[in-house]
Amino acid sequence: MSQAPLPETDWDLTRPFWQAAKESEFVMPRCAGCERYVWYPEEQCPHCGAGDVLWVQVEGRGLLFSWAEVRHPLHPPYKNQLPYITGIVALEVDPRVHYVTRIVECTTSELAIEMPMEVVYRELSFHEVEGAVVAPVFRPVA
């Protein structure tokens, strides 16, 4: 039995993220009180415990924190994508925010940790899984 890797686009806590992605916008949840980003999203700010958490548009830029290239079929829905690169980008707006992302439009030989990355929007679909989703993913800055 395999877990389908499509996000829940109708979950209140995450809906704004996926709606924005559809419009090619990159948004992050931020506490209106202490102004820290709250990633992953939570209803209450875990940092100050007080403020409302609101989604704000942010620059889709950051530094490559780390990455891995998946070459072996570990999870059946990814089977049609092998090999693929996935990793973490530490966002420029706050490097403590680690955005897990596909890394696209490059080969591993072009990658180096701490290199600048930028967002692009790509439709993700999976082997024997119905449906697709537009997701913010990252590529090296040209």
Binding site: Q3, W39, S66, A68, E69, V70, L74, T86, V100
Partner: protein, 402 residues
């Protein structure tokens, strides 16, 4: 982040040094489908631990399990199987993983308070048998169903666990100059130990460093050989007071230190405040302090090693070498049982012995300290087990008694 900033905390386990002993150990290891369910595997391990200790089934008056995964053996199932009628105290704070290290502290309190006097801690899984089936509760499913991971990690292919640890390994390599050969040294050490261990799943398959380096990447920079096995199996150990242990069959092995440590940045690997360290940074110093020992006193070390990089980080974070120094510390044959370095995972670990999530790691320490291990370390008096589950780590220090 600033590496000097506190990113975790030590737990609150009280001093239990010198109070309890491990008096019986038993394993039930299967390479392939065992034809048994988890409870039957737990019973088999229990029967072996009882035989090892010289205690009778009716002597056990406490059972510790983990409620989170693997098989449960409750009081009724125990009594039904063994045909006994005693009262049995139950605890959900036992099992494998980090709990294989911390169960003795819980047992010490139970013995002190008169709740139990001979306590069985056990863990068993039938994950090989379940592989691919609808009831598969194997290691990936738990993570895949976690809602934030399902929403923000699975779409990007950052799943399952080998992907987390490949990403950690890459950063560790960048940060500290760790090499593929260093991860390979851990895999080769585990395999050589398994080759000398009658229970180990890979006992018949050798692995040299050259062979390791020639193997394909599974999730670059990790190879299949950097990842744990999937198997059926179980393990159990029995604890009593030190006083009672002196009258039992086997040489005395005393619990001298128990501790745990926690990351403050939640349970997601992707969001850890210190991505290339384990909470052993916060756990291990406390256990060593409790035991009145230092890392250089340790003769044999077993580490929860779902991936080679997890062991490498723990070696650094427990203070066996400085942070970033593991590359040199683990090199070549340094960690092999008959080398002058620190003997590590002398049964083969999760990489090469079996995937019973750490309980056999504790059993192996006990056998080493008794002088009855397959790959016996000479003059082994102090042994340590390090447990790990991402945002949690734990440390158990055992010493041969006199």
């Amino acid at each position: 982040m600033n590496q000097d900033e506190a990113w975790g905390t030590a737990g609150t386990i009280e001093d239990v040094s010198g109070q309890v002993a491990i008096v019986g150990v038993g394993d039930a290891i299967y390479q392939r489908a065992s034809g048994k369910n988890g409870v039957e595997l737990a019973i088999e391990a229990t029967e072996r631990a009882l035989a090892d200790s010289g205690l009778a089934p009716g002597d056990i008056d406490g059972i510790m399990v983990t409620p989170y995964m693997g098989a449960q053996l409750d009081a009724d199932a125990y009594r039904a199987h063994f045909g006994t009628e005693q009262e049995i105290w139950m605890s959900n704070e036992g099992g494998a993983m980090t709990w294989a290290a911390t169960a003795p502290a819980v047992a010490a309190a139970a013995i002190r308070e008169g709740k139990a006097s001979a306590i069985l801690n056990l863990f068993a899984v039938d994950w090989f048998s379940q592989k691919g089936s609808d009831s598969d509760e194997g290691p990936g499913k738990f993570h895949g169903q976690e809602r934030m991971k399902a929403n923000f990690e699975l779409p990007h292919g950052w799943f399952p666990q080998p992907v987390y640890f490949a990403t950690i390994a890459r950063r560790h390599m960048w940060q500290y100059g760790t090499r593929e050969e260093d991860l390979g040294a851990l895999a080769v050490t585990c395999r050589r130990h398994a080759n000398g261990h009658p229970d180990a799943i890979t006992r018949d398959r050798t692995l040299s460093l050259d062979e390791y380096l020639a193997r394909p990447m599974m999730v670059d920079p990790l190879r299949m050989e950097d990842c744990c096995l999937i198997s059926d199996g179980g393990g159990a150990y029995i604890m009593t007071s030190v006083e009672r242990a002196r009258d039992l069959a086997k040489p005395l092995v005393v619990v001298e230190g128990v501790s745990d440590g926690y990351s403050n940045s939640g349970a997601y690997w992707s969001q850890q405040g210190n991505f290339t360290a384990s909470p052993q940074v916060y756990s291990a110093p406390k256990a060593f302090e409790m035991a009145g020992l230092v890392p250089s006193d340790v003769d044999v070390l077993t580490l929860y090693d779902p991936f080679s990089i997890v062991a490498l980080m723990q070696i650094e974070d427990m203070g066996f070498c400085e942070k970033g120094g593991a590359s040199e510390f683990v090199a070549g044959t340094n960690l092999q049982y008959d080398s002058p370095g620190l003997a590590y995972n002398t049964h083969g670990g999760l990489l090469s012995h079996a995937y019973v999530l750490g309980i056999s790691h504790v059993n192996e320490i006990v056998r080493q300290l008794r002088g009855e291990a397959a790959n016996q370390v000479s003059d082994a008096n102090v042994g340590v087990y390090g447990g790990y589950t991402g945002h949690m780590a734990s440390t158990l220090i055992l010493k041969s008694g006199s």
